[in-house]
Symmetry: C2
């Protein structure tokens, strides 16, 4: 297309953005208008994408990091013939695929949900890494960022990662319209300020007028011919470009234009240009799709093995059986034990260094390309990526996250290293699975089972050794539990998971010595929870005592309570958990101080049973 | 001190680090040894600190961002005479003040808890900002970082913030020992790589040999004479410096030296040098300590007011009454309504841009200096700062966090903007308070009450207008609730908070029309929860129905269940919450789709009451 045609296409995208927001009565037309020329030239000349086959492995990938500019994205889909004009004006309405911020749950051309700023680029880095080191079909990853979101640290984690990995298939466009939501950004139209930052992280930078189609066209060409480093195009633009009432003005963020009809006239009226987007070259993914029978590690009952060790061994075994498994490390692979996978499958191991947001974003990006990622760090440090996990669930992303060093049981390192909120965090994520194994064979089985689940799957592992309680052929259903002690005389049920399971068993032994029979349930599946078994235990024993190495809120205790949230009668529920701020101490001292060791459990159980007698 | 003496002091710090870790049987001596000379010179020549009066407002502030190097910090305290040698060897033991990672809960000279990497610098930026714009007593803020942690995005949020704010009272030292936990860092000993990055963000940089006391001394002098920009000293060091068995070797992270006695001999044996640390100049804080009676905004019953508006007005009023209140914004002050505070108290308003980790870190830094911060952004985006909130609770920091735009009730923007996990996140934080008001007068009262609480306090506000239910003189106890409907005939209790309160009242009206009397409780204090009122309601009505604009896990439903976790009989508990992934739709459509509007509540209540009849 010639310059004038590109400019026309840009105006069409503006007009359609204005129309969509006007029809919705909300939305971000001004943030769409600033980037319209950037998207027009990309769509018309450089993007290689088969809209009829979004799964085509050679398709370029486009991520709208500034997700609030969704009207622009949808206007581009319309110009490309992917959606009809009639759908465009369903924007933000109940049941529409065209949400306020785009999500892949609803639209097949969206790579990842955006709308929380500073996430599109990190996920784009994950996709680009998959493209360069795994898929190798030659696709390019285009990411359109806003300037405001460059204040997010996650952007610089991503910039560092991409620069270091020399991701020359990554082409980032920054729509520098100088205005954030509340007012001007820190750097306004100072493109050099951004260029210096990206250059320092090893990027090729190009500065242009984002409203000059020829300049934009040349910049894309230069980006495509840049080898050995990622490219960022810093485009000077005006928010609300083309409509005097809003152009470059403050106070016009996130609202429809004051007079849409007038604005459309000012923009030259409606157009119905259709673009034939370039098709990608024919290519096939070289992915090794071999699936052998998995040979999980096997542990002997009675041995002492840390669940993190079992995780590391099982993950490596899973990687041998399946060519689509990848492992990601937050520079603690020697602690989480992803190191074993790194040794056996170095080509599918990715070191993300101490950057947990990028760790999770890399997983999301790789999952978007069909890989099955396991990302691991300390449970405590996964809180760093909470917003990324939340957004991944909105994407419907299928990722495996593994948090080691959970709870006070880690001992001397103290509270900064103790995951004591992780169960609460992952339980609250939509559609998540939360697993907390207590022994090595159980861990190995669950590591393999996770791979086949939908949504966010979390596995919590422990630092110290725990006894192997189950045989290597025992099966563990996600959503199930194991009843480890049971008799007709049970007067109480102890519900434990992970490190508190052996403590619960020891407590049961102590109680048996006092003539008190108790049931013990290993609730390794914290979400979904085995309501049936819990309800039966409640009917049989009348009282459930939950014991968890976690703060009392949001974890095992709440999960058990939730199982009785259906309106049926509820038993007596008592919860033990970490109620004080721990310091440094040996693991056994920590469990004792928190009252979740065998002694504490037995004392609480005894009190409850005796109370029941009094009543 | 002369060069040789400084070197001797460095060796003493190494020896004492080795000794502390050896006594503990764990810890990070090698990470301490690399930075020993850096700390020795700082302590002997440049730090101005009165260890007997840590509260002295003119004291310099020192933050050990690489918190795992705690043996070095404690060795320095010993050299400064702040602790005895006998205490040094209690390191990491039960009850010791000398934890694996330092916390201000236990030690008066520690500014903030560290141990989750990449947090010390952001908090240091908050302290430096307080020093420059609020306290103005001339103190300098020294932050010792590791090189591994520079991969964290939060470090670059902080670098951007400090550069932009020209924090020339901030002096950062990076101990570039080239080795992370698992292996080499990305940039090894390439000091220039780090210098380019910091320079790009507007910093003055100095590159030195970190084991040359004179070079270190000169660098500190240069840092102190640098005006108008923050300084970073990039020091080339060797991990485990001084002991051949570990020096610059991989696999030596986070463990005691293989042979401590031999190492101490190699380091020249024990020394007992004592340093007289320079005292700070006399200075007083100019803080306006005036406390007037607060004139909260007053709203008329029956009016419709968004709780975010009431928050904005109340915060501004609080700022007028108290000179120690500061407000922090994540570039959404027009949405959260901190804008009103910004207009009335611009000198105590801090724009943190779209960088939620730095937003919370700034709050922590300012709280460490005695200010009372309120930091606000969308509830959803506070998940970005989860790890900072977690660490703030370990610090015992007293900060107020306000999350607006909670729940599906925001409407069209869709799930990326909806806080649906925030209650779970904040409930699980140790010692936190979680408040969720439903009307404007309640909001105003709670905003004022928050300031006087300990620990992390969270207030959840709503985007849309809700009816004013309470008079302006009504009082709201933290840990309390309000029973809005009650009769002797109540057959069920609806427990609601925030936007679901008016829905619950409307449901009660509908049910009354069908002859079903129900109790309605406004559970504005989600943590601590009003167990007494809930238990009474349970006894009176037999069944509690919780209704929340939040995922069903970790929020109101779990909080109510927790109130029955003391072993006493539990009523029937049923919870309504957001169980599907919302898209875009109008607020009322969203509440309806989630089944938490009046219609959904009434239907659920009716079913429960009828079930009870059947039973």
């Amino acid at each position: 297309m010639k310059t004038a045609e590109l400019a026309e296409l840009g105006q069409q995208l503006r007009v359609d953005s204005v129309r969509a927001a006007a029809a919705a009565g909300s939305g971000h037309p001004t943030s769409s208008m600033s980037a319209a020329d950037l998207v027009a030239v990309l769509l018309a000349h450089h993007l290689r994408y088969d809209f009829e086959r979004p799964e085509n492995p050679a398709n370029d990938r486009f991520v709208l990091s500034k997700g609030h500019a969704s009207p622009l994205l949808y206007a581009a889909y319309k110009a490309a013939g992917a959606i009809e004009d009639g759908e465009l004006v369903t924007f933000r309405k109940l049941g529409s695929r065209l949400e306020g911020h785009p999500t892949p749950r609803r639209l097949p051309w969206v790579e990842t949900a955006t709308g929380s700023l500073g996430q599109g680029l990190p996920v784009g880095v994950g996709i680009a890494l998959a493209g360069k080191r795994l898929d190798r079909t030659g696709y390019r990853v285009w990411v359109l960022c806003g300037d405001s979101e460059l204040a997010e640290g996650s952007v610089w984690e991503a910039a560092e990662h991409a620069g270091y990995e020399e991701l020359d298939n990554l082409k980032v466009i920054v729509d520098v319209n100088r205005l954030g939501q509340r007012g001007p950004t820190r750097h306004g139209h100072d493109l050099d300020a951004y260029a210096r930052r990206f250059q320092a992280f090893g990027w090729h930078t190009i500065e242009i007028d984002g409203h000059d189609p020829d300049a934009v066209d040349r910049a894309y060409g230069e980006a495509l011919s840049t080898d050995g480093q990622p490219t960022v195009i810093l485009a000077r633009t005006l928010k609300g470009k083309g409509v005097a009432a809003v152009e470059d003005r403050e106070g016009q963020h996130g609202k429809p234009l004051p007079d849409a009809d007038e604005a459309i006239t000012e923009l030259g009226g409606r157009r119905e240009l259709h673009i034939r987007v370039n098709e990608p070259p024919a290519a096939a993914v070289l992915r090794d799709r071999t699936t052998e029978a998995i040979r999980l590690p096997r542990y002997d009952e009675g041995d002492e093995v840390a669940t993190r060790d079992a995780f590391g061994a099982a993950l490596a075994a899973l990687g041998t059986a399946r060519g689509d498994i990848v492992a990601l490390d937050g520079e603690v692979g020697d602690s989480t034990r992803t190191e074993q996978f790194a040794k056996e499958h170095p080509e599918r191991f990715f070191e993300c260094y101490i950057a947990e947001q990028q760790l999770v974003a890399t997983a999301v990006g790789m999952a978007a390309r069909g890989w099955v990622p396991y990302a691991a760090t300390f449970a405590a440090f996964l809180t760093r990526a909470h917003d990324f996990v939340r957004m991944a669930s909105i994407s419907g992303s299928g990722i495996n996250l593994v948090g080691s060093h959970a709870g006070v049981a880690i001992g001397q390192d103290g509270p900064s290293q103790m995951g004591l909120e992780d169960l609460a965090m992952f339980r609250s994520v939509y559609g998540s699975t939360v697993l907390y194994p207590c022994d090595a064979n159980q861990t190995a089985r669950l590591v393999a089972a996770m791979a086949g689940l939908d949504g966010i799957r979390y596995l919590r592992t422990s630092r110290g050794k725990t006894p192997v309680l189950y045989g290597p052929d025992e099966e563990f259903r996600v959503g199930g539990s194991k009843t480890l002690r049971s008799s007709e005389e049970d007067r109480l049920t102890i519900v434990a998971a992970g490190v508190t399971v052996p403590e619960a068993l020891a407590a049961a032994d102590r109680l048996a010595e006092s003539g008190i029979a108790v049931r013990v349930i290993d609730l390794y599946s914290v979400k979904p929870v085995d309501g049936e078994t819990l309800r039966r235990a409640a009917e049989d024993t009348g009282c459930l005592l939950t014991v968890e190495d976690h703060h009392p809120e949001g974890g095992l205790g709440d999960a058990v309570a939730e199982a009785f949230g259906d309106g049926r009668p509820v038993p007596r529920l008592v919860r033990l958990g970490v109620r004080t701020m721990p310091g440094s101490a040996a693991p056994d001292e920590q469990l004792h101080a928190a009252g979740i060791d065998a002694l504490g459990i037995a004392a609480a159980a005894k009190l409850l049973v005796e109370e029941a007698v009094v009543q």
